[in-house]
Amino acid sequence: MSMPTELKYTKSHEWVSVDGDIATIGITDHAQEELGDVAMVLFPEVGRVLQVEEKFGEIESIKAVSDLYAPVSGTVIAVNEALTNAPELVNDDAYGEGWMVRISMTNLGELDSLLTADQYAEIE
């Protein structure tokens, strides 16, 4: 299972890529494998303010449904509209074209409590 070392992870199987105070969020390769063929992703509205660990969306495969939780607090500045017509991108490219939301972070300190690739590998 792929697990890029430059990313941060959560126990609920989200990944976070950090660029300044912007966090890009998706679900891990392991998570998409467990879910199976993804059929739909329900996004938050752009502009919504999220608290850390708040539910921000839902991902549905053909056999399961799973909640998405915010790894960090902040404001949603973008969602990956491409997934609306091509949810399979989550399966095909979980860390790239399968990203879900971008958040402008309000508390960079929260990043410290996220998992490293090694730590995530253990819980997986």
Partner: protein, 450 residues
């Protein structure tokens, strides 16, 4: 036992293979105190011949519409069932199969449901339909709950021209979801647009309407639909599918959710169950639909195939957050509905509706001529049912009709105060002029006696 193939020898050999001595040993996981060792207080066994006699004896005690011309409707109808329906639903490849969770070996059921969904949409003029609900009453309750969730509101506006039994079931269902029903008392057998407008509030999630309504009368659906939408509510209708052979389909008056009792589409009256709930709505609500849905897809060779889809709405996946708790529905009756509509087709269904309409109007006209009888709602247009004011107690009148070999109408007094001497009569395409004339003659006699 003819339904259990294994013999004592088989059982002995199997017990040996398992390493047990007796059948009793199979129950060692049950604490001894909880095992039932007595004899059940139920009837003794019947041999097959005796059992066949027994059910025939019981069946013959009932007044079937086979024997007595039936003028009773009120939600369950004695429409003609073409022989194709029994020929297909009697095929055990259909009736002894399970829910089509394994699509590779269930294409027959799956395609028939896809066709049923399509036929439902064509009939109702709606975008999408599900694979069926238990019955019309629970379908209406589910539609009401779905509409309130979509609207984010807590009240339902329900005219009393909706089948009172449906309203009872609705009350039971929505009370437990903390929704409330505002009942709209109507006059003259029809729901007035003004009263709907006056009753809608900012908390009304949906306006419900039955078309034709419980009294058989034809409502001004276009105006009431518009009033519901102006008030920010959804518009939910409950229709008689046979009437749609003739009447404007709900899709053309902008209904958001449409339900129906589909029993008349080739299903037996069967003393009121099982029945066939139809459920359709606009495309934008597809993912909020309760129950099963079949969709088109492709197999490994790229051929068209069918599969249960959007499964994540359902209870086995989403559990307490499912769109409904429904699991088993009525696939076999949906198949009956599909065969019925395929057999009737474009011309046949229209003809069934027209025959019912014409015969009902003939019957009503003749009955209104009898001294002591009149139509309760003379100004309301109606389809195949109408309310008659009778010269005496409607229940007593029904006894009189039965003595003449006729199944009379539905006595309304139990549900509508002040209608003790009123009866809802139904005339389908099955009733002949001779039978209607016999009804009229029998009614006249009752008047003479009272």
């Amino acid at each position: 036992m003819a339904y259990i193939p294994n013999t004592d020898q088989d059982r002995q050999a199997m017990l040996e293979a398992i390493g047990l001595n007796s059948l009793d040993d199979l129950y060692t996981p049950i604490p001894e105190a909880l095992r039932f060792t007595g004899e059940l207080n139920i009837p003794s066994r019947y041999n097959q011949i005796a059992l066949e006699k027994h059910y025939k004896t019981l069946g013959n005690k009932n007044a079937s519409a086979e024997e007595y011309p039936c003028f009773l409707g009120a939600g369950i109808y004695d429409h003609y069932v073409p022989p194709t329906v029994g020929a297909i639903t009697g095929r055990s490849e259909f009736y002894t199969s399970y829910t089509p969770y394994q699509p590779e070996v269930s294409q027959g059921v799956l395609q028939s449901i896809f066709e049923f969904q399509t036929l439902t949409c064509e009939l109702m003029g709606m975008d999408v339909a599900n694979a069926s609900m238990y019955d019309g009453a629970t379908a209406l309750a589910e539609a009401a709950i779905m509409a309130c969730e979509l609207a984010g509101r807590k009240h339902l506006l329900v005219p009393d021209t909706i089948n009172p039994i449906y309203r009872d079931v609705l009350e039971t269902y929505v009370r437990h979801m903390n929704l409330t029903v505002d009942t709209l008392v109507t006059e003259n057998g029809l729901t007035s647009v003004e009263s709907v407008k006056a009753a809608i509030t900012s908390e009304t999630g949906a306006v419900l309407l039955q078309q034709p309504n419980f009294f058989g009368a034809i409502e001004d659906v276009q105006a009431i639909s518009a009033a519901a939408h102006e008030g920010g509510a959804l518009f939910v209708t409950c229709v008689d599918p046979i009437s749609l052979g003739l009447l404007t389909p709900p899709g053309e008056y902008d209904a958001d959710i449409v339900v129906a009792e589909g029993q008349a589409l080739g299903c037996p009256m069967g003393y009121g169950g099982p029945l066939l709930g139809l459920f359709a709505c606009k495309t934008k609500y597809l993912r909020r639909i309760p129950g099963r849905i079949v969709g088109e897809t492709k197999d490994g060779d790229g051929k068209r195939a069918f599969v249960m889809t959007l499964r994540t709405r359902e209870q086995d996946i989403r559990r307490e957050r499912a769109t409904s708790n429904i699991c088993t529905n009525v696939a076999l009756y949906a198949l009956a509905g599909a065969v019925y509509l395929a057999t009737m087709g474009k011309q046949g269904l229209k003809q069934v509706a027209e025959l019912s309409l014409q015969k009902a109007h003939y019957a009503a006209t003749e009955i209104a001529k009898i001294p002591g009888y009149s139509l309760s709602f003379p100004d309301a247009p109606y389809f195949k049912e109408f309310v008659v004011q009778t010269p005496g107690d409607a229940g007593k009148l029904n006894e009189h009709l039965m003595s003449k070999g006729l199944i009379g109408g539905y006595a309304l007094g139990g549900h509508y105060s002040g209608m003790k001497n009123a009866m809802l009569l139904c005339v389908t395409e099955q009733r002949t002029k001779a039978e209607i004339d016999a009804l009229v003659a029998a009614l006249r006699e009752f008047e003479g006696n009272s």
